[in-house]
Every structure is written in structure tokens, then in C-alpha cells.
Symmetry: D3
Amino acid sequence: MPTIRVEMFEGRTDEQKKDFVKAITEATVQTLGSSPEAVDVLLFEIKRSDWATGGVLWSDRK
Amino acid sequence: MPTIRVEMFEGRTDEQKKDFVKAITEATVQTLGSSPEAVDVLLFEIKRSDWATGGVLWSDRK
Amino acid sequence: MPTIRVEMFEGRTDEQKKDFVKAITEATVQTLGSSPEAVDVLLFEIKRSDWATGGVLWSDRK
Amino acid sequence: MPTIRVEMFEGRTDEQKKDFVKAITEATVQTLGSSPEAVDVLLFEIKRSDWATGGVLWSDRK
Amino acid sequence: MPTIRVEMFEGRTDEQKKDFVKAITEATVQTLGSSPEAVDVLLFEIKRSDWATGGVLWSDRK
Amino acid sequence: MPTIRVEMFEGRTDEQKKDFVKAITEATVQTLGSSPEAVDVLLFEIKRSDWATGGVLWSDRK
């Protein structure tokens, strides 16, 4: 703990994911004082056909 | 906000998903007074082999 | 199933919640063909001091 | 209700999942007094490239 | 990991919660082979006025 | 999107929360290239009597 869950569109590279979990963990350690090993980050990649804003799926926008 | 997460069995058509997110967003706008663009809906399709009721996976029922 | 989780700011009236869960359930029944009793809706009221957009808590905005 | 969500690494066998949901449901029935049919268990299998501890994805550990 | 989230009606005693997390953790260890310290269980107590089934809040049922 | 949910023990100060959501949002913007306004962070403060590790609630540890 803390446990951090992130929902984002699919399509990030492995490198982006690696940098992201590192950066978000450091941000947590520095501002909350958690020990790094206590921070879990789980990534959920959501398809644009499974996320709607304003009643319209992102796969149907524009 | 609001942010709405829906877990349902996999197997809906694109048309059903499109109608569902539209209907659920309109229901939110009308009853909560949210602006449509503030409503996010995320769909999570769950396999019957990953959902159990009464201790039995749905893939094993009947 | 489906199970619907809604995160929204706190402060809705009992009447709004009652209307909201009814409307959202009807929208689900009509577009997904679920039986009403199979639809669960869970409401999570979030304080403005626990929700940030753009890095700023809503309790600190304007 | 109760509704139980489990996030775990991918790679369990069908047999393990079947035993797990059965055991966890029985544990719930015995300690909380729920009726078995009221207990839902949802499994989310997470890839090691989507779960980080200490800022490092499990796919990159060791 | 695994991380187990449980949503249930509020009103369990401390003793029930204690027994429940112990039983559910043992069930996990025995069927998935996890080490006990790797199992996290988080309890979310939901008010009957925040959970609806069939479009009706549980606080309004019966 | 991304939407970031954080479960942590209760007891952080307003200042810590403010710094945390700012830092985590900046980390997201820098590594994923999201626009700041697209990043939502939701904080869930969990009581030690609602979080167990190894089958023991944190309120009962030590």
C-alpha cells in the first residue's frame, strides 16, 4: 500500500509503461513517504471501443 | 465525473455497446444533472470462466 | 451481472440516487437485454478533496 | 453481495481457478453468513508487464 | 498479489471481519499456492442506500 | 483518461494529498504524454481495520 490502478487507452510502448510506473512510484515515495516496495501499480489498457465520453465510444468519435 | 464502470459478460455486439453507453449517459444526465461530456463509461467484458456465482464459474454452470 | 459502479461527487439527494439507479437499470435492461434483477448498481460518493483533475483537487479549484 | 474482485498474475490453470472460487466462496459463507448464491467472484488476470512493485514491472524483475 | 477487494453491506462485526480476511487468505494460499504475505484483502462496506439491485436501492426494498 | 485510483491508509494531511495528486499527474504527463486536464486522480482512504495482509488486519498487527 498504496495500491495504484491506472486505466488508460491501449497503445503505450513497453518503454512508456516502464518509465510511467517508475515515475509514478517515485512521486508517491516523495510526497507520501511510502517505501518504494510498498507501492503497487497496476495498468489496465482499455480499448477505444470500451470507453465512452459524452455517450459516444472513443472508437466512434471524430 | 461521474465515472461509470460496467462489468458484464463478453459477447455484446458493437451496436449493443454503442446503444448502451448512450442510454446510460442520457440516464445520468437526466437524473443527476451532469453535463454529457462529464460522463465517462468504461466497459469491462468478463469471460464466463472468470466470473463465479455461488462458488461455480459460469463456464461450468448447467 | 452486469455490475455497475459509479463514482461521483458527494451531495446527491436520496431522491436523485433513487431515480438514477432506476434509470440506469432500465437503460441496461433495454439495450443489453439483461433481466432487471441481474443488474447491480453501486454508488461511491467521492469528496471533492479526494478527486483531482489536472493535478488539482476539486476542493482547491476556483 | 458480497462481490469479490481478485487481481492476480495470469497463468493459473482452469482447475486452480475452479478450486479458488469455490474455496473463497465457502470462506465467505462460513464467516459472513452469506448465502452462497449471493457471492460473486470476478477474476482479473494481470500480465507481469502490467503490474509494478517498487517502480519496476514484474516482467523486468530478476 | 493477489489483491482481493470485497464489497459488502456495512454492519459486520470486527470479529467477523477478522475471521473473514483470515479465511479468505487461507483459501487463496491453499488453492493458488500464494505465500500468505502476498495476499492483500481490502474491505469496502457499502450502505444499503448506495447499492441497488433491479433498479431499487436496498434501503428501499421490502 | 488516464484515470488513476489510489487506495492508501487514511491519515494523510491535506497538504500531502495536494502534493501527491500534483506529482502523480506531472509524472503521467511527462511519461505518457497526456494533457494534464485529461488526468483524473481519485483517492480512497482505507482504514487499517479494512485492509489485511497475510490474513491479518493492519489494525491487529504488532
